[in-house]
């Protein structure tokens, strides 16, 4: 591809790499080299991967649905029910693995939508500038100050039936503003670079410049942003579920906590009911965050420890 070359140079300039950084394949190799030796990235990625796999595979081995009353009531963990049962005799392990699934789904949908909206708004505002920028900036700031969870509570309260995907959509639509701001700032700084000027002078269209010249230069940044949004969406969803605005069908980790608290698991000492779901969420989101620090160190040479 003929456009490859300016991109590579811009990456080096943008990331403050020393002049000796070398050709692109070397650079990619270098990132990979650091990635494979970065404990934060490896541990974080490992935990997320393991939980994702559990959420994908384990439900296939659950005979009945997660909400079916299968066993004795309020039983502590045992060989048969690994994580015990609820007050109603539901298998906590079955709920947990299905809940993992929902959690990843809501993170993916919510984080994905927020990332897309944030990027579109940020790129447009940053690249177009002028009045468009003013208006988008204003909208961004307004959505930014509105407390997302509370807006979501209001919206969800009026819905008769709530699904996980819909929840993800709503979360996505309220949590994009900081992405838009960050992307806008980066676009502004990239848009004045030589290679973008060149592209503009050669008569390329705006969206083509944004997607072929600007976005690739921010790709590592955008990826890390998505990870943060993913984790954030999971936490917001858990909060909604806990208030009782979770999915009306099915199960989620937040809903498990809601039920545990509602039906007195604390007073009854049924720790197996409320510890796993919270631990699952904390493990996923915490690992995502730690992974993100690892990625930052891989992409940003200044942060690497020698």
């Amino acid at each position: 591809m003929s456009e490859m070359e300016p991109d590579v140079r811009a990456v080096q300039a943008a990331e403050g790499l020393p002049a000796q950084a070398g050709p692109p394949e070397r650079r990619l190799g270098e990132s990979l080299h650091f990635a494979l030796r970065n404990p934060k990235l490896l541990i974080g990625g490992g935990v997320v991967g393991a939980l994702l796999l559990t959420g994908l595979v384990a439900p296939l081995f659950v005979q009945e649905g997660p909400n079916v009353y299968v066993g004795p009531q309020a039983q502590a963990p045992s060989a048969q029910y690994w994580l015990g049962t609820t007050n109603f005799g539901q298998d906590v392990f079955a709920q947990f693995v299905f809940g993992l699934r929902s959690t990843f789904l809501v993170g993916l949908v919510g984080g994905g939508i927020a990332a897309v909206v944030g990027m579109v708004v940020g790129f447009t505002a940053g690249y177009r500038g002028g009045l468009v920028d003013e208006v988008l900036n204003m909208i961004t700031n307004v959505v930014l100050v509105l407390p997302a969870l509370v807006v979501l509570i209001i919206a969800a309260a009026y819905l008769q039936a709530r699904g996980i995907a819909l929840q993800g959509l709503f979360i996505g639509l309220t949590s994009w503003p900081w992405v838009a701001r960050a992307v806008r700032a980066q676009t502004l700084s990239l848009a004045t670079r030589d290679f973008v000027d060149l592209a503009r002078l050669s008569g390329r269209r705006a969206h083509s410049i944004v997607f072929r010249e600007i976005a690739p230069n921010m790709s590592s940044y955008l990826f890390m942003t998505f990870i943060l949004l993913f984790g954030g969406a999971i936490l917001i969803a858990a909060g909604l579920d806990f208030i009782g605005l979770g999915p009306t069908e099915g199960v989620s980790l937040g809903l498990m906590m809601h039920n545990a608290v509602t039906w007195g698991a604390l007073q009854l000492g049924m720790w197996w009911w409320f510890v796993p779901p919270g631990l699952g969420i904390t493990a996923i989101v915490g690992s995502l965050y730690i992974m993100n620090v690892g990625l930052d160190e891989v992409f940003n040479p200044k942060l690497r420890e020698l």
Binding site: N141, V142, V150, V151, G244
Partner: protein, 331 residues
């Protein structure tokens, strides 16, 4: 400076306008008859009071009027401080119910936010660039900030409250206590307050510590730091300058994170049955009390806006750049 604040105020005014409009719009946008939805799971089955409620709602919503008239009415009653009548505690006005809950929410939110911000910043700056702390305690910070607020609350309530028996786990004060300015009551109040405060504090603390750690690493790499080091300035001075500069984005972060922390406070209140706005929201949802729910929403939005404005003012005071930019450059 004046332009900076004026712009912020414009944004906040706009946000308030949007929030009120959302409040007005959502019940009307959702499928079905809002009044029926509201009353479907309304309070007790007392026919007479149900009838009164229905009459009240129909009059308040005024669905037979044109939309713009309804919208205007909505603003007029808002201007009078009228947020409607609660269904759950019929016929108490929503404003009254909310005002009695606000002190509890603030009692949790203000100390937890401020203390966690100060302590988190100190700690994050301290841990940065110390390999040992960076590798041991900061992962803990990440785990804390990834913890759902309510889950940490549940764990504390269970561990320190129910199992260890050190703290009460529900309500603002014991059933037997009689409110008053006496020592037994105050200590009862504090012991009920402590766990929800602690869980809110801890989660927020993790976030601030990490934020500061990441900020200060960039500041220590900044050129003014390099210059000081080239001139042999001691590490203490370089760090002090870096800290001061890293605190500014953390202050912006305070404004950005406010919504999340408020949400955390609401969730924590629910765990501990602490009678603040969060608990009211839960009751409102359980009783399908939409006036109360929307009132709580408005209260929270206004609170967040006020807090944001305070942060803006502080920012102007501490960052010389916001003050001087407006005077026109000196040369």
């Amino acid at each position: 400076m004046r332009r900076y604040l004026a712009r912020k105020i414009l944004i906040y005014a706009l946000t308030f306008f949007v929030a009120v409009s959302i409040n007005w719009l959502i019940p009307r946008l959702m499928p079905g008859d809002p009044i029926r939805t509201m009353l479907s799971r309304g309070a007790s089955g007392d026919e007479a009071s149900m009838e009164r409620m229905r009459a009240y709602y129909e009059q308040t919503f005024g669905l037979d009027e044109p939309a713009w008239q309804q919208y205007l009415n909505f603003w007029t009653s808002l201007a009078r401080g009228d947020l409607g009548i609660s269904v759950w505690l019929f016929p108490q006005p929503v404003t009254e119910i909310l005002l009695s809950a606000v002190p509890y929410t603030l009692a949790l939110l203000l100390p937890a936010t401020l203390l966690s911000w100060v302590a988190g910043n100190r700690f994050g700056a301290f841990a940065a660039r110390s390999k040992w702390l960076d590798n041991t305690l900061l992962p803990l910070g990440y785990v804390l900030t990834a913890t759902p607020y309510m889950w940490l609350g549940i764990l504390l309530a269970w561990g320190l409250g129910i199992v260890a028996g050190w703290f009460p786990t529900a309500g603002p004060y014991g059933f037997g206590s009689i409110p008053g300015w006496n020592w037994p009551f105050i200590s009862d109040l504090v012991s009920h307050w402590f766990l929800p405060f602690a869980s809110l504090f801890l989660v927020a603390f993790g976030g601030w510590a990490i934020g500061m750690r990441n900020m200060i690493i960039y500041e220590l790499e900044a050129e003014y730091s390099t210059y000081l080091e080239a001139l042999g300035a001691p590490r203490r001075l370089v760090r002090r300058y870096a800290f001061r500069n890293a605190v500014l984005p953390q202050l912006t972060g305070l404004a950005v994170q406010l919504g999340t922390i408020v949400a955390g406070a609401l969730l924590t209140e629910i765990v501990f049955a602490y009678p603040g706005l969060g608990n009211l929201i839960l009751e409102a949802l359980n009783n399908r009390d939409f006036f109360l729910l929307q009132g709580a929403f408005l209260f929270i939005v206004v609170g967040v806006l006020i807090a944001n404005f305070i942060v803006d003012v502080i920012y102007v005071v501490v960052d010389p750049r916001t003050r001087t930019q407006m005077q026109g450059s000196a040369a």
